[in-house]
C-alpha cells in the first residue's frame, strides 16, 4: 500500500471515529490504534485478575454467610470481567497466553491499587466503595469508546461494578453504624485506601503521556485531573453521610470552583508502586505465576484429552 493510500485510510478512519461509528475487529485500523488498544485492554484484564487476589484473601474469613456469598459473587464477577476483556483483546490478534506471559514477566502493567494489602474485613468495604468507585469513574466513558468489542464489554463491566460499589459502601455503612471497634476498623481502612484510590486515576495531566491520543480515540473523555476531582466531589459527601473522616487535612469545599480542594498526593509513592516496589507487588505476581505454573499439567491434560476425543470422533466417522 502506498503512503498516500495509508494516509487516506487513516483520514477515513479518524472521520469514522469522529462520527461516533464503532470500529470492529475486521475493519482496517492504524497499527498504533491496535497496539494502544491491546495495551489498555489487556492492562484492564490483568487488573481484574490480579484484583481477585486482595479480595479473595478474605473469602474464607468473611464475617457472615451473607457477606461470604456476596464476596464470592463479586470476585467471580471480576474473573468474568477478565475473561471477556481477554476475549475482546483477542479480537485484535493477541492471544491470552501471550498476554499472560506479558503479565507474568512484568512487561504488562495492572492497576497499582492491588499492590496494597487487605488487612481487615473493612478493607472489603473500602475496596468496593473507593476502588470500584474510582474504577467506575474511569470506565463509564469507555462504554462509548470507539472500539466496538471493548465498548460492549464495558457496558456489562460497568453495570456489575456499580453493584460492587454499592455493596462496598453498604459494608462501610454497617461498620460505621456498628460498635466502636467496627467504626475504628472502617476509619482505618478509609485512611489506608484513600490516597491510593486517588492515585488510581493516574498521574497529573502534565505528566500523563497517553492523554492526547486517547482522547482522540475516545479511550478517554476526561483528563486524569478532571476524573480525580469528580471522584473526590462524589466521595466526600458519602464519607460525611456515614460519619467517617477523609484523611486529608487540606480537604476543603471551594465555593468558587464548586469542588473540593485537596492536599498533595504522594507521587513518589505512586511511582514506587508502579515500578514494582509496592507492599504487595512481589506477592501478587508470585501468586499469579504460581497458579499458572501449578496449573500447567492440568491445562496440558485438557488439551491431550481434547485431542484424543477428536481422534476418536474422526475414527468413528471413517
Amino acid at each position: 500500500m502506498s503512503e498516500d493510500q495509508i494516509k487516506s485510510l487513516e483520514k477515513e478512519f479518524e472521520a469514522r471515529i469522529a462520527r461516533d461509528e464503532k470500529i470492529e475487529p475486521k475493519d482496517w485500523m492504524p497499527e498504533k490504534y491496535r497496539e494502544t488498544h491491546i495495551r489498555q485492554m489487556s492492562q484492564h484484564a490483568h487488573s481484574e485478575i490480579v484484583g481477585m487476589l486482595p479480595e479473595g484473601n478474605w473469602i474464607t474469613r468473611a464475617p457472615s454467610l451473607r457477606r461470604k456469598v456476596a464476596l464470592l459473587a463479586k470476585v467471580q464477577d471480576e474473573a468474568g470481567h477478565g475473561l471477556y476483556l481477554y476475549s475482546a483483546t483477542e479480537t485484535l490478534g493477541a492471544s491470552r497466553e501471550e498476554l499472560y506471559d506479558q503479565l507474568h514477566t512484568g512487561k504488562a502493567k495492572y492497576s497499582s491499587i492491588f499492590n496494597y494489602p487487605t488487612l481487615t474485613w473493612a478493607d472489603m468495604g473500602a475496596i468496593g466503595w473507593l476502588v470500584d468507585g474510582a474504577a467506575i469513574i474511569n470506565q463509564v466513558p469507555l462504554c462509548n469508546t470507539s472500539y466496538g468489542p471493548y465498548a460492549r464489554a464495558m457496558i456489562r463491566v460497568c453495570k456489575e461494578e456499580s453493584f460492587h460499589q454499592r455493596q462496598g459502601f453498604e459494608i462501610m455503612l454497617k461498620l460505621a453504624n456498628g460498635t466502636e471497634e467496627q467504626k475504628e476498623m472502617a476509619q482505618d481502612a478509609l485512611n489506608r485506601w484513600w490516597w491510593p484510590s486517588l492515585m488510581m486515576l493516574g498521574p497529573t495531566d502534565d505528566k500523563s503521556v497517553h492523554t492526547a491520543q486517547s482522547m482522540k480515540w475516545k479511550l478517554k473523555r476526561k483528563t486524569n485531573d478532571e476524573l480525580r476531582q469528580q471522584f473526590i466531589d462524589q466521595t466526600v459527601p458519602q464519607a460525611d453521610l456515614i460519619g467517617l473522616t477523609i484523611p486529608d487535612p487540606a480537604l476543603k469545599w471551594n465555593e468558587e470552583r464548586g469542588s473540593y480542594d485537596f492536599g498533595e498526593i504522594d507521587w513518589d509513592e505512586f511511582w514506587q508502586v508502579v515500578k514494582g516496589h509496592g507492599p504487595m507487588n512481589k506477592e501478587r505476581m508470585k501468586a499469579r505465576v504460581g497458579a499458572w505454573e501449578r496449573g500447567e499439567w492440568v491445562r496440558d491434560a485438557a488439551m491431550a484429552y481434547a485431542e484424543k476425543a477428536q481422534n476418536r470422533k474422526e475414527k468413528q466417522a471413517v
Binding site: 474464607t60 474469613r61 464475617p63 471497634e181 496440558d300 484429552y305
Partner: protein, 251 residues
C-alpha cells in the same frame, strides 16, 4: 429442643456443603485457568447458598435466637458433623476434583431422594439444590475424565488422589441416630440404599477415565460423629475468625 433429631439431621446435611464450600472458596484466584477458577468459585457459591437455606431453617427449628451465622461459625470442632471427605485439603487440582467428584455423585443421588421428603421445607431446598449439584457433578466428572485420560502425568496425579480419597467414601452411607429417626418418619433419606448405585456409577466413570478402582477394604469414618481429621481445625480457624474475634456484632 422439640425437634432435636430434625435439627441434627439438617446440620448433618448442611455441614457437608459448608465445609466443602469453604475448601472450594480457598481456590478463588488460584485456579489452573480462568475458566476452572470461575467454575470452582461458582460451586463454592452454590454450596454456601445451600448452607444458608439449611441453617435458616435450622435456626427456625432451634427457636432459641441462634442465627444462621451462629450455627455456621460458633460451634466447637466436635460439633461439626460433615463427612471427612469434605474437609480434605486442596493438595493439588486432582485432589480438588477427586474430592468434588466423589462427593457430587453421592450428593446428587441424596438430593434426588430428599426431594421426596415429607418435610416440605427440606423437599423444597432439595429441589433447588438438585439443579446446582447436577452441574457440579457434570463438571467434576468431566474433569476426572480429562485428568485420568489426559497425559501420563495427569493420570498419575488423578489416580493418586482417588486412591487417597477412596478411604473416605464409605462414611457417606453411614446412618447416625438422627438419620435413622428421620428415615423412620419419612423425612430423611436412607443413605444405605444409595450405596450400590454410588459405587457402580463411580466405578463406571473411573474406568472411562482409564483409572484403576482402588481395592482397599479399609475405610475411615468419624466425621458424622464429630471426630474429624486434623485438617478441620485449621479450616474452622479461618471460618470462625471474625465471629470469634468480634463477638456479638452485626456485619
Amino acid at each position: 429442643m422439640k425437634n432435636q433429631y430434625l435439627y441434627n439431621y439438617i446440620l448433618g446435611i448442611a455441614d457437608n456443603s459448608l465445609i466443602l464450600g469453604q475448601r472450594m472458596g480457598e481456590l478463588c484466584g488460584h485456579g489452573p485457568s480462568l475458566e476452572t477458577d470461575i467454575a470452582c468459585t461458582n460451586i463454592s457459591l452454590d454450596l454456601f447458598g445451600q448452607v444458608r437455606s439449611y441453617f435458616q431453617y435450622a435456626s427456625k427449628i432451634a427457636g432459641d435466637g441462634r442465627t444462621e451465622d451462629d450455627i455456621a461459625m460458633l460451634r466447637k470442632e466436635r460439633e461439626y458433623k460433615n463427612v471427612l471427605l469434605a474437609e480434605q485439603p486442596n493438595t493439588n487440582f486432582a485432589y480438588t476434583i477427586g474430592r468434588q467428584f466423589l462427593f457430587d455423585v453421592y450428593h446428587l443421588a441424596f438430593l434426588k431422594e430428599l426431594q421426596k421428603s415429607t418435610d416440605l421445607t427440606l423437599a423444597a431446598i432439595a429441589n433447588k439444590c438438585v439443579k446446582e449439584v447436577s452441574y457440579h457433578e457434570r463438571f467434576s466428572s468431566d474433569w476426572v475424565k480429562r485428568l485420568g485420560d489426559g497425559t501420563e502425568q495427569s493420570r498419575q496425579k488423578m489416580q493418586e488422589a482417588i486412591d487417597d480419597l477412596w478411604t473416605y467414601t464409605d462414611e457417606l452411607f453411614h446412618l447416625t441416630e438422627s438419620d435413622k429417626e428421620m428415615v423412620s418418619q419419612g423425612i430423611g433419606v436412607d443413605a444405605t440404599l444409595l450405596k450400590d448405585a454410588y459405587y457402580n456409577s463411580v466405578k463406571e466413570l473411573l474406568e472411562e477415565a482409564t483409572l484403576h478402582i482402588p481395592d482397599s477394604k479399609y475405610f475411615q469414618k468419624g466425621g458424622k460423629k464429630g471426630i474429624h481429621t486434623e485438617h478441620l481445625g485449621y479450616l474452622l480457624s479461618d471460618l470462625q475468625y471474625m465471629q470469634r474475634t468480634y463477638p456479638n456484632m452485626e456485619w
